[in-house]
Amino acid sequence: MSTKLVRKTVPLIITFLVGLLMIGQWFLKIPSLNELATSVQQWGIIIAAFAMGLGSVNIIIRNVHRIQKREGTDWLYAIWLLAIFFLFAIVGIGFGSASSQYRYIFNTILQPLSATMYPATLFFLVSAIYRTFKTRTVEGGLFVIVGAIILVANAPVMAATFPFLVSVKSWIMDVELTAAYRAILLGIGLGAIMLGFRVIFGLETTHLGREEET
């Protein structure tokens, strides 16, 4: 088989068939179509599991290389990362992901660390707002004015002192913002439909790699 057949033609045919299947499953009431679509979606989960394996191998190789190079202090973190990686893998595979042992390390290590990331967003937001407020363009100026109104109106003391700010904020959020969001959402929806058209009918092939035959 030629490379082009394997790399372009077969994926395009599969994309066309699966694309139509998924559309049919969403719009049509045909039980066999629904069952087939569910099976295809489950294949996707299996493919993702293989990709997770690939990602795990990538983590091991990269960090082993970092430890071998011993540049700066990064390699110490690499040792720590691999230790935790294998701890989770051994406990997860050995006792099962529903076991109390796995739940313990999940709840005491991963969960608190993940939860920490969310409040950290606040500091990045403040920093982003500061940088945005320094902008010297007309759009940036409007951004600052609207942002300042929302910020001030959300502060209870300011809302109590200047109640009209709450009305202004509500108007911005309910009228201006909602209208803009819906317009963007409409464009996103139509854009996604057209991207689907391009992918299903083989017009969009950039995700399949290079054009020429090798």
Binding site: G44, L186, G187, I193, L203
Partner: protein, 258 residues
């Protein structure tokens, strides 16, 4: 009826939209249409050039939406298109590329991205510079991408795909080290963060026609024209619906809910 209830008009609309697109692509032809300039895409080549001059890397991130979930897959597809384009540029101009793969439900993009980048380097005759382990690190948590920003200090950070709150964290992390940033997502609630923290931003639907813009393929551009035609129809329906509802007439609302 064979069509599920509540989806009849949606189904007919989809067929109509695709039919109009097909007319624009295969009958009208796309040669007479042009697509407006997208500065956020134009600047990518400049950013890669700057990376070469400063001997720093380019980071290209496609987010964590993945390809398996319908609502996020289109943005990831667009991100992969940009990734292929950026990989071609870094291969041709001689910059280092790092495309971190974030795991939040998007691990299936790893093999696709790997093939795309390898293909791009192969097409430029630079396949010996392709190193999957170093170029496509699997970074399972948000903090690891921030650590990458601090460790590598790239000249440019390009983020096109589907993002959640990491959009703000990552854009800020790369912004602090002075990287040129291009951000684009279809997640409504993350667009303001990109608008605030990135130098150039692709707003919502601008993410999708990137392949048409880059390739200048008349057929791809024709689909954008078809899409714009339906924007006008949608606008007319919105105005008509607003007038009818204002006068207490629910006919259009009920019709569209069929």
């Amino acid at each position: 009826m064979i069509i599920a209830s509540g989806k009849v008009v949606d189904f007919i609309a989809l067929i109509l939209i695709w039919a109009v697109a097909a007319v624009f692509v295969w009958i009208v032809g796309g040669k007479r249409f042009t697509i407006r300039r997208m500065v956020a895409i134009d600047v990518i080549e400049e950013a890669v050039g700057r990376a070469v001059e400063t001997e720093k890397a380019v980071v290209m991130n496609i987010g964590g939406g993945g390809l398996l979930r319908g609502e996020y897959a289109p943005a990831t597809m667009a991100g992969l298109t940009v990734l292929g384009y950026v990989a071609g540029l870094t291969a041709r101009l001689g910059a280092d590329l790092i495309a971190p793969m974030y795991s939040d439900g998007g691990v299936e993009t790893i093999p696709v991205a790997t093939e795309l980048i390898r293909d791009a380097y192969m097409a430029e005759g630079e396949v010996e510079r392709f190193d999957a382990e170093e170029m496509i690190p699997f970074l399972p948590v948000q903090a690891s991408v921030m650590a990458l920003a601090d460790r590598v200090r790239p000249a440019a950070n390009i983020m096109v795909g589907y993002y959640w709150h990491e959009s703000c964290i990552w854009a800020e992390a790369f912004g602090r080290i002075g990287a040129i940033q291009v951000g684009g997502t279809t997640n409504l609630y993350q667009i303001p963060f990109f608008a605030g923290a990135c130098d150039y931003v692709l707003i919502g639907e601008e993410v999708y026609p990137i392949s048409a813009y880059i390739s200048k393929d008349p057929k791809l551009i024709a689909t954008i024209v078809g899409q714009d035609a339906f924007k006008w129809i949608a606008a007319i329906l919105i105005i008509l619906g607003t007038i009818l509802v204002s006068f207490g007439n629910q006919w259009l609302t009920q019709f569209l809910s069929m």
